[in-house]
Amino acid sequence: MEFIKHQIEKIKPNFEKGGKWEKHYYSFEALETFLFAPATTNGIKGAQIRDAIDLKRLMMTVIISMVPCLLFGMWNVGHQHFLAIGQAASFMDKFWIGVVQVMPVVVVSYGVGLGIEFVFATFRRHPVNEGFLVTGMLIPLVMPPDVPLWQVGLATAFAVIIGKEAFGGTGMNVMNVALTARAFLYFAYPTDISGSVWTYIGDAKAVAGYSGATPLSLAADAATTGTNVVASLNSFGAGWNEGVFSFWNMFIGIMPGCIGETSTLMCLVGAIILVATGAGSWKVIVSVFGGAYAMGLVLNLIGGNAFVEMPAHYHLVIGGLAFGAVFMATDPVTASQTETGKWIYGALIGIFTVMIRVFNPAYPEGIMLAILLMNVFAPLIDYFVVSSNKKRRLQRATV
């Protein structure tokens, strides 16, 4: 340790003002503070002691909350792979296929994103923000398992440059960066993000009867054909993956889908970590689920077509609702920043998710669009909450 510390101290002057690599000071700072928490002390006046928290630890907490989703996702990628090609395999075989398929996506996402962060930090002369540590993990989890790596890189670059740096960098972005990446792929390569992309098949041949349909597309189809959604979900996969879309199977998440977002259960484990550590707002998580469920119930009451009549609790386990509620909607930068606002923001995400799913079958993945939409409206919600706080103060003054 002393040796590393000594080496860092030795090269440090090169990066400081007047040094030959002065331009790269913030890149150096990022690596230095990664190795050693700095020896800086508090100022002469004001708080002489500080909480042991820092941004790195807070971000690590969020990353750890995503690990259950990641590990489950890796296994599930392998599991679905062997189901689709009709072979039996051991747990480790499935997990290994998943690791091989998923790790490159993670590496590309971090590599491209952090690379851009460092370049911008150097040009803009600001510290490298730890925010991308979380974004870089979120992006792979919302990618389909069979996504080409160049698309991951392109989407990450787009999200970081246009979604974040164009607005002034971390903390200034209006829309969730990881979702921007996902939305970019969704709109730029619509044909690639459909069909069999949800299961990694590789060079093998899919079994007879295999279909890449998702619960959301089945539900949308059911609405046009008029069949019962639950029945069509339960009967899907007969012959090669019986019961894959049964309610409990979808809750646990053993089904095709994005790498990390199929499992509502694992998302809830993540939610428990986020809420217990205080890293994520429980108000947002609860209100997204609550809003979606309530909207589902309202639609059930109104009735109309088969999708509208799908039981409300199915909305909570299909698609990426759970993942979006727990990891995307809670992003402190793009969410509503007032405590009252968080309830409204979350509930509207839930409501819009269900509305988009049911009434706009062209965009089945409603949660992504609902969160992006509410990201844009979050400042407006805050504006009203802050105004009401000001009004209370004004009213008091006149009494």
């Binding site: 508090n42 708080a47 002691i49 500080r50 909480d51 928290i53 820092d54 807070l58 706080n389 004004l394």
Partner: protein
């Protein structure tokens, strides 16, 4: 009848080294210092003494151009040995080499019944010339009170919840009579009530429980419940255009002594606290005392930070420094200038945190006293709206929005968001819990000064 107010938000910081309820008297420090910088709102303090002059306790030292009738006086008798000036000849401190025995300027003495009949003008005159006036703090802005106004109320916080704070039942033991006379005088200065705000969990000294003619309110909850700004917000909030005064019990007692004994008695007990002090206890001394003698042979190690005041709002003054006008506490903490290998993730029950993020387990044993050093535990970063500030400010105020409006220098917005109701100590916990390590108190004072100048 007073009110009972229960607050939930906040965080009491439990540190090792609270003062034992033991008062010791040692040889008085050699030097005493009065720092004009202790008083917010003074903008051109002008000394009325020269180096070499001899003064008595209560002799004028300086006054400020804004309110020239407020006289700042010497706490002890002796010789003015140094008048320290900073940039642009700004007056920084006046140092007095103290006599062995304190001699006092004499002011007019009154009996309790005479005080009852005193005119407000005569009363103010005595308060202003003797040096006790600067104990009165005006809100908004936390500046020395303007003698020309009548505040809507006067608030006295009768307990301190800051880390390592002194116990008021020790500090003010036996001062009942002076405190009573003090509040009797204060009542003549306000159109409204004098509030004495006590805490439910600590034992209330008779000084506060037996006092007559005031509203005795009860509060419960964690720090910052002891900050008078928080109490005002819940009892009788400050609106635009309104003025409220606050005063610490020490100031009230000084006022009482001034009228009953006819002297400016700046004697006080100072709690010398902190994990690095061998004997945490109370010392009898005077306002502005040098800390040197309290720390002699009383430190566990040498690499320490000596803070005049408490660890949240105090000032690092060094081992030879002096306490400020309002300080009744010296805190000595380990200096934290060490780099910790991957310190941003290493777990530890030892690390004190309001958060519960990965590896920070201090929330499991909230009552445990901890040793905390002065390390920043992280680097400055952009604001992250994690909702944490809102959890430590028990007021209907949006701290993050207020701070952002200050950074944007938007005065209308600051007013609308309630800047009139807060001073540094009210938001000091935000600075402690901040993930992005902002200097919250410094930012707030800049905002207050901007609003004042507008």
């Amino acid at each position: 009848m007073g009110k009972f107010i229960r607050l939930k938000k906040g965080f009491t910081i439990n540190l090792v080294g609270k003062a034992a309820p033991k008062v010791v008297e040692i040889e008085q420090p050699d030097t005493f210092v009065i720092k004009p910088t202790d008083f917010h709102g003074t903008y051109m303090p002008k000394p009325v003494v020269k180096e070499g002059d001899t003064v008595k306790a209560g002799s004028p030292l300086f006054h400020d151009k804004r309110h020239e009738n407020i006289i700042y006086t010497a706490p002890v008798s002796g010789e003015v040995v140094e008048i320290k000036r900073g940039e642009k000849r700004k007056l920084l401190e006046i140092k007095i080499l103290a006599d062995k025995k304190v001699e006092y300027e004499t002011f007019k003495k009154y009996t309790v019944s005479e005080i009852a009949n005193l005119s407000t003008a005569a009363l103010k005159e005595q308060l202003l010339t003797s040096g006790v006036w600067p104990n009165l703090i005006e809100r908004p802005f936390g500046v020395v009170a303007d003698p020309g106004v009548t505040p809507k109320a006067i608030h006295i916080s009768a307990f301190d919840t800051h880390p390592l704070a002194p116990d008021y039942s020790v500090l003010y033991k036996g001062q009942d009579q002076y405190f009573q006379v003090g509040v009797d005088i204060l009542k003549k200065l306000t159109a409204g009530a004098v509030h004495v705000n006590t805490h439910t969990t600590s034992e209330i000294s008779t000084v506060f429980s037996q006092v007559k003619g005031v509203e005795v309110n009860k509060f419960s909850g964690p720090h910052p419940v002891g900050c008078v700004g928080i109490q005002i917000h819940h009892l009788d909030p400050i609106n635009k255009g309104q003025i409220v005064w606050t005063i610490a019990p020490a100031g009230v007692i000084q006022i009482g002594k001034l009228f009953l004994n006819g002297i400016y008695d700046a004697s006080k007990l100072v709690a010398v606290t902190g994990s690095e002090v061998k004997n945490s206890q109370y010392y009898k001394t005077y306002t502005g005392a040098s800390v040197k003698k309290f720390l002699q042979d009383n430190l566990k190690q040498d690499h320490v930070r000596v803070i005049a005041g408490n660890p949240l709002t105090g000032t690092a003054v060094g081992k030879e420094g002096h306490i400020g006008f309002f300080d009744q506490q010296v805190s000595v903490l380990p200096e934290g200038d060490y780099a910790e290998f991957v310190g941003w993730i290493t777990p530890g029950e030892r690390k004190l945190s309001f958060h519960r993020a990965i590896g920070l387990f201090s929330f499991l044993s909230p009552g445990k006293e901890r040793v905390v050093d002065t390390n920043t535990h992280g680097e400055p970063r952009a604001f992250v709206q994690s909702g944490i500030f809102e959890q430590v400010v028990p007021m209907d105020i949006l701290p993050t929005h207020l701070l952002k409006s200050i950074l944007a220098e938007d005065i209308d917005e600051m007013e609308a968001l309630g800047i009139y109701e807060v001073i540094e100590e009210d938001l000091a916990l935000c600075e402690f819990v901040d993930v992005s390590k902002h200097k919250v108190q410094e930012i707030l004072r800049e905002g207050l000064e901007l609003v004042q100048q507008s």
